[in-house]
């Protein structure tokens, strides 16, 4: 079964990471790279992407003529989707375990961030029997 693990920017705004000392930043980036590699090696990674920052984001809706109307950016946003992993695992418990590992990514001073990772099951095909 597939799960999407979503990481939001930690509270305090999307760019606090820019204030981190080089060493902490390096540890964080190193963690993310080796985390993705490990998931690949275990045969569980379906895809993983990081998303561009909120100041590149636009909200789009169709106008009366069907043409797009855009607005945004979101400078006040406290929480913003930063990226996601999609994993294919044998049980929900395994998905939670992977999310907990992601949650413990090192932050300032190398201490685990313990950020909340949202875990959602990906919808699939029909069950084997219906009424």
């Amino acid at each position: 079964m597939k799960y999407m693990l979503m990481m939001n920017t930690p509270s305090g705004g999307p760019y606090q990471i820019a204030q981190w000392p080089k060493q902490d930043l390096q540890a964080h980036i190193g963690f993310m790279i080796s985390f993705a590699k490990k998931l690949g090696e275990s045969g569980e990674l379906v895809s993983a992407e990081g998303l561009a920052g909120p100041d590149q984001a636009k909200r789009v809706r169709a106008g009366k003529d069907g043409k797009p109307i855009t607005d945004g950016v979101f400078p006040e946003s406290k929480e913003f989707l930063a990226g996601y992993w999609i994993v294919d695992v044998e049980s929900p418990e395994r998905a939670y375990e992977i999310a907990a590992q992601a949650s413990a990514a090192p932050g300032p001073g190398g201490a685990p961030l313990n950020m909340a990772i949202e875990v959602r099951q990906v919808m699939s095909g029909p069950p084997k029997d219906l009424l």
């Binding site: 079964m1 597939k2 690949g40 090696e41 275990s42 045969g43 569980e44 990674l45 379906v46 895809s47 294919d88 044998e90 099951q121 990906v122 919808m123 699939s124 095909g125 029909p126 069950p127 084997k128 029997d129 219906l130 009424l131």
Partner: protein, 418 residues
């Protein structure tokens, strides 16, 4: 480019591949190296047979070519390391004599051993499935990845990890003892059952590849049945697959929407698959030891035998679910038992059964419980209760087509209330 292989030769190669792989692994004890060597032998066959004609004994030909490749590799490796001894060291000294004596019995079919090895209980089911499809089914990693909707690299990792686990576990490649066999046959059947369901349950995604999985599971189970024709549960599993797969064409509408059993156009059911499944289960059931696959096949048979949904012999189905429940104590079985009870004794009796398991932690909060309750409430004439439970079930299911099906039910009932 050599001339293309005709279909007969393709099928022949696919049938022979697991036998050849099994024989080569038995000799050289190295799964990964043997698989590479067999791949090379298959490629050689595909290049040479179309123009040169089939060899007299294709199986022996492939084993010989693969064996030559594997010894070439070992020698090359040994030469590089200046250690000729490695050629023999691959095989433990105490087994070298047995190995030599074995050379004559090339007609032995190692497919069963290979299946047992790939479906080893120590492997995760995802790994066992991938390895089985690769080694016994002869599917490419790309095909398997496509069927499971994951990247090829992910599937390649699963397969290589599975091979690694087999290597480190030291699982011997030999015919299992009667006890081991009984024990592991369960794992083998479970893996085949999972492969079948993976193909049968998905309507989204690249549909063609998914239904190929069911066909592959059927082919492998047929093969297993040929290898152990006296095993009633294997026969039951094959019958269950045939009787279920027979309904495939009627199971979804033009845009992939689910059509429940009682509304399916039974003219679309595959009569040949049904007769084959019925004959199998009819021959198996009277033989004694009845297991869960046979009971499920018997239930599928009762459904398939009814010319119209209203002709379904629900009393018999009720009895069979009762039997299945006594075998497995599975709350999902009790759910089906509740439906059968409602069909025989009325919806109130079915709802009573649901109440009895509603607090079971294994099923509490599961969408199927709500879906069944909604269905029974609807039959009992409680539309608003049914709507509430259809919606609750829709919120909780993780299947897109089932969610659509449940929401449509709630919407249709809502309209009748207005």
């Amino acid at each position: 480019m050599p001339p293309a292989l005709d279909t007969r030769t393709q099928h022949l190669l696919r049938d022979l591949a697991p036998q050849v792989l099994g024989a080569v692994i038995r000799r050289y004890r190295d799964f990964a190296a043997s698989e590479d060597a067999v791949q090379e032998a298959l490629i050689a066959a595909a290049m040479q047979w179309p123009s040169g004609g089939l060899p007299e004994n294709p199986r022996a030909w492939l084993i010989q070519v693969a064996s030559r490749r594997i010894t070439d590799h070992v020698r090359a490796e040994a030469a590089r390391r200046h250690r000729e001894a490695i050629v023999v060291s691959l095989v433990p000294v105490e087994e070298q004599i047995a190995l030599a004596a074995d050379e004559g019995t090339t007609e032995r079919d190692d497919t069963l051993d290979l299946l047992f090895m790939c479906c080893h209980p120590a492997l995760s089911s995802a790994s066992a499935i991938a390895l089985t499809l690769r080694a016994v089914g002869g599917l490419t990693t790309f095909e398997i990845a496509k069927a499971f909707l994951v990247p090829e690299a992910t599937m390649a990792q699963r397969i290589s990890r599975a091979k690694q686990s087999i290597k480190t576990s030291g699982v011997p490649f030999r015919m299992p003892t009667a006890e081991e066999r009984a024990e592991r046959l369960g794992a083998v059947m479970h893996v085949l059952y999972l492969i079948f369901n993976e193909g049968y349950t998905a309507s989204s995604g690249p549909e063609l590849h998914r239904s190929d999985l069911s066909a592959e599971a059927l082919r492998l189970t047929r093969m297993l049945h040929r290898l152990v024709p006296d095993d009633c549960e294997v026969a039951g599993l094959l019958a269950l697959m045939l009787l279920t797969d027979a309904r495939r064409a009627a199971r979804t509408g033009p845009s992939g929407e689910l059509i429940p059993l009682d509304q399916q156009d039974r003219a679309l059911w595959d009569r040949d698959a049904i007769s084959e499944g019925l004959a199998l289960i009819a021959a198996t059931l009277p033989r004694g030891s009845v297991g869960p696959y046979q009971v499920q096949a018997a239930i599928a048979a009762v459904h398939d035998e009814a010319a119209r949904a209203e002709d379904t012999d629900w009393a018999q189905i009720l009895e069979l679910y009762g039997l299945l429940q006594r075998m497995s104590d599975n709350p999902m079985v009790t759910l089906n038992l509740a439906i059968a009870t409602a069909m025989v004794q009325g919806p109130a009796a079915g709802l009573e059964r649901l109440d009895a398991i509603a607090k079971d932690p294994r099923i509490e909060g599961h969408h199927r419980l709500d879906a069944v309750r909604a269905h029974l409430l609807e039959r009992a004439g409680d539309s608003s209760g049914a709507i509430a439970h259809y919606r609750r079930a829709a919120e909780r299911t993780t299947s897109t087509s089932e969610r659509n099906y449940l929401l449509m039910h709630a919407a249709r009932l809502s309209e009748t209330l207005d």
